[in-house]
């Protein structure tokens, strides 16, 4: 049963990754029609001639968490809250006994069909014309509807600002001609960001080259993520069937003291 389900999901993943690329080739106009209930509102701000996306070459990721740390510092996220992070898994082949570590960097997918945008009751979160999904923290009421609506857990309520917070592809750095902090700090050069509307950009060339091998997370949700993974195992595109290893250790009054391992 599991194998059937996985292969089905794998096909879905590939199909959807292909579908996600369609808007690039057709260069669809960025602004959509006036939105009905739970449909995408018109995009605003940003450069309409660009569409940012990210390709993560998992073969280059060593799970050093440099991206996690540099993002944390660049964007001043509160302790324990992350705009990007790298999930790490230990995979054990039961027959051969081989062990492998799998690293999965996670961040906002800046989806082509972002479920977090239409739910916002005050249009504080919106998609720019360059595809980047951002939050206007002066307008956000902190209802957290978007946090629940994002299937990737890419959003959180910032403890300090009490508003929704998320990865912005470091839009402030892109504007200044810099790379996002996570890309800049990636030791293996695993994260590639760029304008997918420019056929000569590195990301466009890589997408063309590896089109069939690219996968996105949770393709069945029809969010059309624009963060593409190269060297991905399809079993990790949805919530992996895995055993949690770390247990929180709490003091008697509920304060977190540290972690304890099962194994």
């Amino acid at each position: 049963m599991d194998a059937v389900r996985r292969s089905l999901l794998g096909q879905l993943a590939r199909l959807s990754a292909g579908a996600a690329l369609v808007p690039l080739s057709s260069l669809a106009p960025a602004s959509l029609a006036q939105a009905g209930i739970n449909q995408q509102p018109a995009r605003r701000e940003g450069d309409p001639s660009k569409r940012y996306g990210m390709l993560i070459d998992l073969r280059q990721c060593i799970g050093c968490q440099a991206c996690t740390v540099s993002c944390h510092i660049e964007n001043a996220a509160p302790l324990g809250q992350f705009r990007t992070t790298v999930s790490q898994y230990e995979v054990h082949h039961q027959e051969s006994g081989e062990l492998a570590t799998f690293m999965l960097p996670r961040l906002c997918n800046h989806c082509e069909n972002p479920p977090c945008v239409p739910v916002c009751p005050v249009e504080a979160t919106y998609q720019q014309q360059d595809g980047i999904v951002v939050v206007d923290s002066d307008r956000c009421v902190g209802c957290a509807y978007c946090v629940n609506a994002c299937p990737y857990d890419a959003r959180f309520i910032n403890e300090r600002t009490q508003t929704a917070d998320k990865c912005t592809f470091c839009a402030h750095r892109l504007e200044a001609g810099l790379l996002p902090a996570c890309v800049e700090s990636c030791v293996g050069g695993a994260r590639i960001i760029g304008d997918m509307r420019n056929p000569d950009s590195q990301i466009s060339r890589l997408i063309n080259e590896h089109r069939d091998a690219l996968m996105v997370l949770q393709p069945e949700k029809n969010t059309l993520p624009q963060v593409f993974y190269l060297g991905m195992d399809e079993r990790f595109t949805t919530r992996p069937v895995a055993e949690p290893v770390a247990l929180e250790v709490l003091a008697p009054h509920g304060q977190e003291m540290g972690y304890e391992f099962h194994h």
Binding site: F102, F156, T163
Partner: protein
């Protein structure tokens, strides 16, 4: 075959706090009790008048408290005006933010009209009560029945908007498969009616009105909505039993892998069946035995309230602990502060305060569908169904 261990993953906090449970519970009791007040106060069915009087106080008190809980669940409550400054048509929550105040106004208008004849009758009373009655009744003009019915109809219509938006708001969230089902909105409505009927049974007892008609009617309402809830649950299950993804698949997975979900499912199922069976038992007893048994119906009322509240707790809180990207289940201890226990207790405390204020200053026991002869309406103050004997006297 591989086995996988998750070595490192961030901890994802819940985004909606128990305030959300309180809001969904209060607003559901509010709209359901409005519908239970409607037969007598909108459509003029006299046999439903004792029920309607209890339902109306339940409706008004919960309608007053629900928006407070909702506001408290915002992380930036003082920015609530942004809902109106940046209103839009693509977010169910934005639509709800327009419907909710209109609903609140219509309910208060409806209750004011239904209570007005009794307030007018009390204008000459001594002390604070007379003063408040004089001030609240706004003159001694007639309260046309048609106006009460009209405002009641408007409130009923808006309440349907509340049912729709509160359900749809959750059901469209694909990121939470357990919410993402067409069967959730009707289930919220059905369990709302169960809780409201339960609350009316309890109020019937604690107000010492003890109207047997109200008890019987609420038992029938419980019977109908327990059966309906059972049907909805069954449809939901059959609808998704063979699917690999979606609401039912997610629920089965939770039940399979989490002992706490197993006990929740077991508890919910058993309580529902027990409630339904007890109601059937009470309603099928002989006419001689019923009065003695009906005196204990308020206990079933407590169970019904528990069902309505627990369903919302499971849907809103427990579902948020089902991990979307990491292994296992998130653990959640209810914090003691305002985003936890204090919020829950505080909302119920506020509700109690609201109901006590109404009890103190409003002759809610004499609510009726308007009156043509204000001030002289002796029938209202001597309504036989209010069983004044032994009732607490507040002037």
């Amino acid at each position: 075959m591989n086995s996988t261990i998750e070595l490192l993953a961030p901890r994802y906090d819940i985004a909606w706090y128990p305030w959300a449970v309180q809001y969904f519970f209060m607003i559901a009791v509010s709209y359901a009790s409005l519908w239970l007040a409607a037969p007598a106060l909108v459509f003029g069915k006299q046999s439903w008048l004792p029920t309607a009087r209890l339902a109306l106080i339940a409706c008004v008190s919960t309608t007053l408290v629900a928006p407070v809980a909702l506001l408290a669940d915002l992380h930036q409550p003082l920015r609530f005006w942004h809902f109106y400054a940046y209103a839009n048509t693509h977010s169910w929550m934005s639509i709800g933010s327009v419907v909710l105040p209109l609903y609140l106004i219509s309910v208060l208008g409806f209750a004011w009209l239904a209570w007005r004849p009794a307030l007018q009758a009390r204008q000459q009373a001594a002390g604070l009560n007379g003063l408040i009655a004089k001030w609240l009744s706004m003159g001694s003009g007639a309260t046309p029945k048609a106006l009460v019915a009209l405002v009641g109809l408007a409130a009923l219509m808006l309440s349907s908007g509340i049912m729709l938006y509160t359900g749809a708001e959750l059901a469209i969230v694909k990121a939470r498969p357990l919410w993402n089902t067409i069967w959730l909105p009707p289930m919220l409505v059905a369990s709302g009616f169960i809780a409201a009927a339960g609350l009316i049974l309890v109020l019937n007892r604690v107000s010492r009105i003890c109207a047997p008609d109200a008890t019987r009617q609420m038992l029938y309402v419980l019977l109908a909505f327990c059966a309906l809830a059972g049907l909805i649950a069954l449809s939901w299950l059959l609808d998704g039993l063979n699917a690999h993804v979606g609401s039912v698949a997610a629920a089965l997975e939770s039940v399979r892998f989490s002992p706490s979900w197993r006990s929740t499912a077991l508890w919910g199922g058993l309580t529902g069946v027990a409630l339904f069976a007890s109601v059937v038992f009470l309603l099928t007893r002989s006419a001689q035995r019923q009065p003695a048994l009906f005196a204990w119906a308020w206990l079933l009322g407590l169970v019904a309230i528990h069902m309505g509240w627990m369903f919302r707790w499971v849907v809103l809180m427990d579902v948020q602990h089902v991990a979307r990207n990491s292994a296992g289940f998130h653990h959640y201890g209810i914090p003691a502060g305002s985003s936890g226990i204090l919020g829950i207790v505080g909302t119920f405390g506020l509700w109690l305060a609201a109901i006590l204020l109404i009890e103190l200053f409003i002759p809610w026991r004499q609510a009726q569908q308007g009156s043509q002869l204000p001030g002289n309406d002796q029938a209202a103050s001597r309504a036989p169904l209010t069983a004044n004997k032994g009732a607490p006297s507040h002037g």
